[in-house]
């Protein structure tokens, strides 16, 4: 409703005069939707505030339709809010159990452990991590300060978090790593970096080191979802078939030839049978390799009695049961890379790799 008043005055005055003329219209629209007069009044005020704020931007002739739409939207968003509140009302109830008496102490210990772990980071790591996590500074502005890229900062932050997790566990366990290999191994596991884990031979170290075997458990849960490895728990004869079929599937997906797939499945079959026969249980992990070439990596791991003389076991015809004595040496011939690590009383890990030929 454009008023007939002359418009010599400033834009702001003109706007408010126009908006004042819209009041009856807005009131009518809101009243027809909201029965409660007090609520309706609030909504009219809100609508008018919005229209007034927008008056400068809206063409004079279009102020009326703008007001109509705004009034409707204001009412609609009130309904939405009410609905949301109704749906979420149950959440207002605090379902947390009452605090246990030791919770405070535990929380304090936890804080101490985190603080102690933080002191073990380098200054630069700590500063960057705190700026990001506590002050909420984003990676881009951090990158600008550090003369780096956002991606590099994010990667650095990930490594720092991985280190913090390791240090935190070490502090809260009050443990000092017994060997100098422990930290690199734990870091690789904490970061979920499988290439690094292979480089430091994490699987072997965990069989050897009690502390790392224990600490790796909370660290392992991380990053498993994006794992492209297939794990087969091995206990019985049937698992031998399951493991070799898993290897067959992965190898086929990677584009190995039918012959190679059978070779790989045969090797997996041999190694899995060894687990069933010599250890009570174990696992076979079949993983894809993309670096440096496409390949398949198979790790057969058990916590069995171990092999007393690996060199001897790798000889053809050496057999402790009535087998052909072909298990280890045969599988070695079928694969490109083959490594056996075994420790008496601790277990055996066989790692084997086959690279895909250039097809």
């Amino acid at each position: 409703m454009v008023s007939g008043e002359p418009v010599e005055s400033g834009a702001g005055d003109r706007g408010s005069a126009d908006v004042a003329a819209l009041i009856p219209l807005v009131r009518r629209i809101v009243a027809s939707r909201v029965p409660d007069p007090a609520t309706a009044d609030d909504l009219v005020q809100e609508t008018l505030t919005r229209v007034l704020a927008a008056a400068g931007r809206v063409e004079p002739g279009l102020l009326e339709p703008y007001a109509i739409v705004t009034a409707r939207n204001t009412v609609a968003s009130m309904w939405r809010d009410q609905d949301r509140q109704r749906r979420h009302q149950h959440r207002v109830v605090d379902l947390r159990p009452p605090q246990a008496p030791d919770e405070d102490v535990l929380a304090r210990e936890d804080r101490t452990a985190v603080a102690e772990a933080l002191t073990r980071l380098s200054d630069r790591e700590r500063t960057t991590l705190l700026a990001h996590e506590v002050s909420g500074q984003d990676t881009r502005s951090l990158a600008a300060e550090l003369g780096s890229t956002a991606g590099a900062v994010a990667a650095q932050l990930n490594r720092t978090r991985a280190r913090l997790r390791v240090e935190y566990l070490l502090v809260s366990e009050r443990a000092e790593p017994p060997t100098e290999r422990c930290r690199p191994v734990l870091l690789a596991i904490s970061g979920g970096d499988r290439r690094r884990q292979r480089e430091v031979d994490a699987a072997r170290h965990m069989l050897e080191c009690d502390l790392c075997a224990r600490l790796s458990e909370p660290l392992m849960g991380r990053g498993r979802s994006r794992d492209d490895a297939v794990r087969v728990a091995v206990r019985t004869d049937a698992d031998v078939v399951a493991a070799r079929q898993a290897a067959r599937e992965v190898a086929t997906r990677l584009g190995f030839s039918a012959t190679d797939v059978t070779l790989i499945a045969t090797a997996v079959s041999e190694m899995t049978r060894n687990i069933v026969r010599f250890a009570d249980s174990g696992e076979v992990v079949v993983a894809e390799l993309q670096e440096p070439r496409t390949g398949i990596s198979i790790v057969a791991r058990d916590a069995g009695p171990g092999i007393p003389d690996v060199e001897q076991a790798l000889q053809d015809g050496y057999s402790t049961y009535r087998g052909l004595g072909l298990g280890l040496p045969g599988a070695r011939r079928l694969m490109d890379e083959f490594a056996v690590v075994s420790e008496i009383g601790r277990g055996t890990t066989v790692t084997m790799t086959r690279w895909r030929g250039e097809a």
Partner: protein, 129 residues
Amino acid sequence: MNDGPRLFSILRQGPYLIASVHTALDDSQLVRFQNDLVERIGSDRARGVVIDVAALDVLDSFASRTLRDMAEMARLRGAVTVIVGIQPDVAFAMVQLGMDTGRVVTALDLEEGLAELDRGARDPTAQRP
């Protein structure tokens, strides 16, 4: 060990038994296969056995040894054994693995296997080394 459905069949064909594996067998199923077959050789008074392993995805050391043992047991029970249907990829893997399978008679398929048994029946002096 001997529960669950049989994943192999042993059928009689004249004086011969045709033993076919239907799917990949695990070790205990293989042992069951071996025991059943040796039993059937006696109860059916079979003179020859064809073992069809075309359905086996892998012939690893255990499976190879079991087949070799089966052939040897059958021989001791008076039957000649021919193994048929070893897939080319499986054969390749067996050689790579270093399996010694020299003493076992093989044929390409069931037809060849039965023909082989017929030849052996006609000329009993033509025993395998």
